[in-house]
């Protein structure tokens, strides 16, 4: 009777093999099943900024859905959580903190400069990229390496507006009304200096509160001063209330401003917005076929007119894609560094609807538009090309 030599049973041999296989599976799992990239979208969904915040959210959602339909970013699907800042900086800071606790890949928003101002230190501390809609100059002036704009900063568009008022409107006396928040205060400060440089006289220098509903006293001040041009630096709702009042009072001085030709302003002000002028970042009326196609898709999906905020949020998602692909991996902490200095073009990233150069401080240079309102629509009078 022979007796076989005792040795490990096949089962015992299988155990280490199974363990090795399990380890192998575990190490290869992230590659096979790429983790989702979580995007936090803090936006002004209620309060006085709801008109713009809702469109910002919708633009971002649309881009995320479209990207996911194409396979996401480097195989990673995008997921998102929307937070309501209530157009309130302190709420904004609280929701950003909550968002950061969830370890997002990037933060998209908010839109209002005042909110960005208070939440920016949090994203900077966390090392998470924040691509926002604010235009106040000081947002990118503090050397925060994680903050990025999606449109031109105030200083990039205010001086051209002053020059336009002087050379084309032949204005010598300008009335200015500005909103008393970080957006308006920044614009007011820059405008005062720019008007002085251009030799124009500021005959009315009036501030209004965000969400202000009565503009009668402001309108009468403007009426009494007989300005050659009125520079309006308010948010969309307040623009509309003021412009309706100006029309009611029969004031015919040309109106120029920050968002006076914006779709939301046009919708709310109706005929009172006719003829208003603005120099701003690239907008929904840009004479670019890809923008027109975006406009059509957005309208079909949400049944509301998109504005520059929707466009900016849409492109912000594609900025994340461009930066991630440049790194070759999804590294939340490395994204900001990858984005700095990038030039992103529509041929490489179709969701970047016009070429965009990201400057070292997070500002972007993608040109600007001189627009007016004609027949209830924003119309481009001139495309001002990027500086680079």
């Amino acid at each position: 009777m022979s007796r076989s030599r005792p040795g490990p049973s096949p089962y015992a041999l299988a155990l280490p093999a199974l363990a090795l296989a399990a380890i192998g599976l575990a190490t290869t799992a992230p590659k096979a099943m790429a983790q989702d990239l979580q995007i936090a979208i803090p936006a002004e969904l209620t309060g006085s900024g709801a008109s713009v915040g809702v469109l910002w959210r919708d633009g971002a959602e649309m881009a995320i859905d479209e990207l996911n339909a194409k396979g996401g970013i480097l195989g990673h699907k995008l997921t998102y959580t929307v937070y309501d800042t209530q157009t309130n900086p302190s709420v904004s800071r609280a929701v950003i903190q909550k968002a950061l606790d969830g370890h997002p890949y990037a933060v998209l928003g908010p839109v209002y400069s005042g909110s960005v101002m208070v939440d920016e230190p949090l994203t900077q501390k966390a090392g998470i990229t924040e691509i926002m809609g604010g235009v106040a100059d000081n947002l990118t002036a503090a050397g925060d390496p994680t903050i990025f704009r999606t449109t031109a900063a105030q200083s990039q568009v205010l001086m051209p507006a002053v020059i336009y008022m002087k050379d084309t409107l032949h204005a010598k006396r300008v009335a200015m009304i500005w909103v008393n928040d970080d957006y308006g205060i920044g614009g007011h400060k820059a405008m005062q200096a720019d008007l002085k440089k251009a030799g124009l006289q500021l005959v009315v220098d009036d501030s209004a509160e965000a969400g202000q509903i009565s503009f009668a006293p402001d309108i009468l001040k403007i009426r009494a001063a007989h300005p050659d041009a009125i520079f309006v630096y308010l948010h969309e709702e307040e623009n509309a209330r003021l412009m309706k009042g100006l029309k009611q009072q029969g004031i015919k001085s040309p109106i120029m401003g920050g968002t006076v030709t914006d779709q939301q302003t046009i919708k709310l002000a109706g005929g009172a917005a006719e003829g208003a002028l603005s120099i701003g970042g690239m907008d929904i009326s840009a004479p670019v076929p890809a923008v027109a196609a975006f406009h059509k898709r957005f309208l079909a999906r949400f049944h509301v007119e998109p504005d520059h905020n929707a466009l900016q949020a849409y492109m912000a998602v594609w900025m994340i894609k461009a930066g991630t692909e440049k790194m070759g991996k999804a590294d939340a902490k490395g994204l900001a560094a990858a984005l700095h200095g990038m030039t992103i073009t529509p041929d490489k990233q179709p969701g970047i609807l016009f070429p965009m150069h990201i400057l070292a401080n997070g500002d972007i240079d993608n040109g600007s538009l001189l627009t007016t309102v004609k027949g209830g629509q924003q119309v481009v009078l001139k495309v001002i090309p990027p500086a680079q």
């Binding site: 209620t46 501030s207 509160e209 009565s214 009468l220 709310l268």
Partner: protein, 290 residues
């Protein structure tokens, strides 16, 4: 200078006229049902949204307004009285006032959920004419005219009709009114209905300029409340005077004072009156406290 002052006066009166319409409602509800309605501003928003809703359904504006008025009478008049005021009043005036604050929050959230958080445009009048250097716009003139007609009609109704006098009797002393055979419950209900009509009128007059938004009511209601206190909370004519005065003071203060403090003006006036003349300009002294 004279023309600017005249222009400011017209603008202030036009704003004040709307405050007056809303303040009259405060006064009527207080007199008729000891109700301090802190949802009064939101009561203005509801008919404005209803008008927009009816026009969105295809009704022309001239039909949408009476349709919204019917909704306002039903919801802000009958339902408000039956569902909130009647059960809460037994618990005390303060409890009822707090309940109306809750109603204000509830209404704003219902409007936000159904109509969205965005502002909406509302049709109004544009243009006007010059009278010397004074420009009179049709919207302000319409506001003033409608307010004058409404206040006069209300005054005539309260003082010259049997029902109006019965309402006044009810406001002064419900027990005696009952002994006199007045249907007190009906009179109180009528007060709520009149308030619903007033806020609907205010909605039509204010929305073309202020736009329609779910949270507009808070600021408007607070200013109208201040107007009612300043004028005299227990007098309709006091509410009118308070509303007009507040509109004018607010306009002049915003023009000649620091911009940043303009929204504080109604509150400062309110505090001053509470401290030094709690019964207001034209009000009667009362023992009751809120």
């Amino acid at each position: 200078m004279f023309w600017l002052l005249a222009q400011l006066l017209v603008a202030g009166l036009a704003i004040g006229a709307i405050y007056a319409l809303i303040a009259i409602g405060f006064s009527l509800l207080w007199q008729g049902a000891q109700t301090v309605n802190f949802a009064q501003g939101d009561f203005v928003s509801l008919p404005a949204f209803a008008i927009l809703g009816f026009t969105a359904l295809g009704l022309p504006l001239w039909l949408a307004i009476p349709a919204a008025l019917a909704v306002a009478v039903l919801v802000l008049g009958l339902l408000f009285k039956r569902v909130l005021v009647q059960p809460m009043l037994h618990h005390g005036v303060l409890q009822l006032a707090i309940a109306t604050m809750a109603l204000s929050i509830f209404l704003e959230n219902v409007l936000k959920d159904t109509g969205g958080a965005e502002a909406y445009p509302f049709p109004g009048l544009t243009g006007g004419f010059n009278l010397g250097a004074l420009f009179l716009d049709w919207q302000s003139l319409t506001v003033l005219a409608v307010t004058v007609v409404t206040v006069s009609a209300l005054n005539a109704f309260l003082s010259r009709t049997r029902t109006g006098r019965a309402m006044q009797a009810t406001a002064q002393n419900p027990s005696v009114a009952r002994l006199l055979g007045i249907d007190v419950e009906r009179m109180i209900m009528l007060t709520f209905v009149i308030n619903a009509v007033l806020v609907t009128l205010a909605a039509v007059l204010i929305s073309p300029v202020y736009l329609v938004k779910f949270d507009n009511g808070g600021q408007i209601g607070l200013t109208a409340f201040s107007a009612a206190i300043v004028g005299g909370f227990n007098q309709v004519r006091g509410a009118v005077v308070g509303g007009l005065l507040l509109g004018v003071v607010e306009t002049f203060a915003a023009t000649y004072g620091p911009d940043q403090y303009r929204t504080a003006v109604p509150m400062v006036l309110l505090i001053l009156f509470v401290l030094f003349r709690p019964h207001g300009l034209l009000g009667r002294r009362e023992e009751r406290r809120v």
